[in-house]
């Protein structure tokens, strides 16, 4: 315990450095901006801003990128409540009750409950990250290649189970992602694999290009297809930002449950903030004594998902920082950012660079505090921004994405690859394939192959090693049972229900 406090003290001393506070603030603001604006997601933003962090010190860079991630969770709620358009995929469910509250003249209460819930969740999950960091790191040291491989299999199975729609198609996306990740030079022999003798492909397909294409460009192409209905901004002046005592009492349970659910789903690879918010809303509705209130302005329907998405955004740093495995696409970009600064993510970060590890954790708490303080008074500014028409917004996003992709390697080919993946992403959506599992598999692919090959080599070609080593066998058993559960038709039906709501 005292060790934890000492670590946190170290963290706060790093995070409270004026520069780092500045980066944290900047990240949180940019994140909120991105969260507010519909049509641009967190993944695309972090990818776009990677080049900006080149010149920064590593701690500052990571603090800023982390700020963007959780800042977006705050910002997303603003648009959901006021305009009924989710600014971020994580706030889709917040629209349901949040906008109804706004129509009943309770926009202020909805916004402040969302902020309070997010802040509470942020505090709890920050402590959780700090507390779980040390024990999980020591577990990580017990892991050999076989265990790492099985853990990643489990992560991918989670992504399958948590994806919406058909289980089979999610598996297809996983395998596609793994296959795409193998393009480029072989790890051991350096032989070019599936490069079609294109020199630019010998380093593999860059993850940023794939993410930017599938999440950035494809999203824009899809938005252009929809008619741009006029945005129904709540015009009434937002008054009474403070929630009433009754609001606080009503939502306290929902906030607590949302935080717990979000924290758990955030840690799981393949989970993350989107799933957390859906799950929290559904759970809240199911246990409510008056489920009919949901969708008509129930404050729990705002409190639970907003707490959950923020908690999940924070706890998803745990697998990255302790095991070196990115659980979702944003964390994969964080790997990229760390690698640029010469940091290899994994258990050694905590021992070798404690100021980075604890500084980042402490900055998360500071960032959450800033978001509450800054955002509520700034709601008016964010709403004004929403009046920028999409026809001007999307070319700006495209230009920014192009410059971002290009400047990572100063390579025009990367921009072309991103464009191709934009079309691929559009095609995937048209055929009801989920891009998220593909991207996660693409990220984990090289790590998985490396560990698979190493495990097989150590076991002298005996594939049963994955089943005979206890930790590995346990992980695989969990993965298998999850897959069976997800494939069972009865549960599948129920799962679809969750996502339809």
């Amino acid at each position: 315990m005292s060790e934890l406090l000492a670590n946190l003290a170290l963290g706060f001393s790093v995070a409270a450095h004026p520069y780092n506070i500045g980066f944290c603030l900047l990240g949180a603001l940019v994140g909120t901006l991105v969260g507010v604006l519909p049509g641009i997601g967190t993944v695309a933003t972090v990818a776009m801003l990677l080049p900006i962090t080149f010149g920064l010190p590593p701690v500052g860079a990571l603090i800023m990128l982390a700020g963007i991630y959780y800042g977006a969770q705050y910002g997303g709620s603003t648009t959901s409540v006021l305009v009924n358009i989710p600014g971020e995929a994580t706030s889709v469910v917040t629209c349901l009750d949040g906008h109804q509250m706004a129509r009943q003249g309770r926009a202020g209460a909805a916004l402040s409950i969302a902020a309070i819930g997010s802040f509470f969740a942020g505090c709890v999950s920050t402590v959780l990250v700090a507390a779980l960091g040390v024990p999980l790191t020591s577990i990580a040291l017990l892991f050999g290649p076989a265990e790492y491989f099985s853990l990643m299999v489990l992560g991918l199975i989670f992504a399958v189970v948590l994806a919406k729609g058909s289980v089979l198609k999610a598996i297809a996306m996983i395998v596609t992602g793994l296959l795409l990740s193998m393009v480029g030079s072989d790890l051991e022999t350096g032989a070019g694999r599936m490069t079609f003798d294109i020199a630019e492909l010998s380093d593999g397909i860059g993850f940023t290009n794939v993410a930017m294409g599938v999440f950035g460009f494809a999203e824009i192409i899809r938005n252009l297809e929809m008619s741009q209905e006029s945005r129904d901004i709540v015009k009434a002046k937002i008054k009474g930002l403070m929630p009433t005592r009754q609001d606080l009492i009503d939502s306290s349970g929902a906030i607590a449950r949302g935080t717990v659910l979000g924290s758990l789903l955030g840690i799981l690879p393949g989970g993350g903030a989107v799933v957390a918010s859906f799950a929290a809303y559904t759970f809240e509705k199911r246990i409510s004594k008056h489920p009919e209130r949901f969708g008509r302005g129930a404050i729990e329907g705002v409190a639970a998902p907003e707490s959950a998405n923020n908690a999940a955004a924070q706890t998803s740093f745990i697998p990255l920082l302790t095991l070196g495995i990115p659980p979702n696409a944003v964390m994969a970009l964080m790997v990229g950012a760390m690698t640029i600064h010469g940091i290899v993510p994994g258990p050694q970060v905590m021992t070798k660079q404690p100021e980075l590890f604890w500084g980042m954790i402490a900055s998360m708490w500071l960032g959450n505090l800033m978001l509450v303080i800054i955002n509520l008074p700034l709601v008016g500014v964010w709403v004004t921004l929403l009046r920028v028409p999409y026809r001007l917004l999307y070319p700006s996003i495209i230009v920014f994405c192009c410059i971002g992709v290009y400047s990572i390697n100063n390579s025009p080919t990367d921009v072309v690859i991103a464009a191709i993946f934009g079309l691929v992403g559009y095609w995937l959506v048209k055929h009801d394939f989920e891009p998220a599992p593909l991207v996660l598999a693409f990220v984990l692919g090289p790590l998985m192959e490396e560990n698979l090959r190493r495990a097989m080599l150590i076991a002298r070609g005996d594939a049963t090693v994955f089943a005979t080593r206890p930790i590995s066998a346990g992980l695989l058993a969990v993965a298998l049972s999850l897959l069976v559960l997800a494939a069972l038709p009865m549960i599948r039906k129920r799962r679809d229900e969750v996502f339809v709501e």
């Binding site: 596609t176 296959l179 100063n410 025009p412």
Partner: protein
Amino acid sequence: MPEGAKTSANGGGFRFKVRGPRDFYGGLALIGLAILAIWASGDLPGTHGFAFGPGTAPRLFAGLLAVVGAMVALGGLLFDGPRLDSYAVRGPCWVILAILAFAGMIRGFNLGFVRVPALGLVPSTFAAFMISIIGSTEMRWLESLIAAVVMTAFCVVLFVYLLGLPFQLWPWY
């Protein structure tokens, strides 16, 4: 694959309908990708003793993809599913064209029959903005021009002056 949702089987001489064309053609495309990957990794050495060769994992996953793709396609053949969605042409074309224009202009390229010199950040950004804006049905010329100039200026200030990234700004500099 926007072609008709009907296909005929020659086996018994009867025609039957693809019930879920989205899944069916989606699955077929994945099988195609798998075949491409198997062909492309065909010349790589495979397992050697206990050790995986460079070709082992690609062929393993390509084979798996072919199987899963076939299952998806089969599901589309047998079970009712949503119809194929229509593809927009205008948005995707102009957006992709804008991105390609940026990629082509920023450093220039030489394909043998066409050569474009390096034009730098300012013309590339401006062109990408103006081309992509045509993708929307709501574009207005004057407004777009002003926005493009403002955005270009903003990008130059942010990336070149504030962040100090090494960009060539103009064709001559």
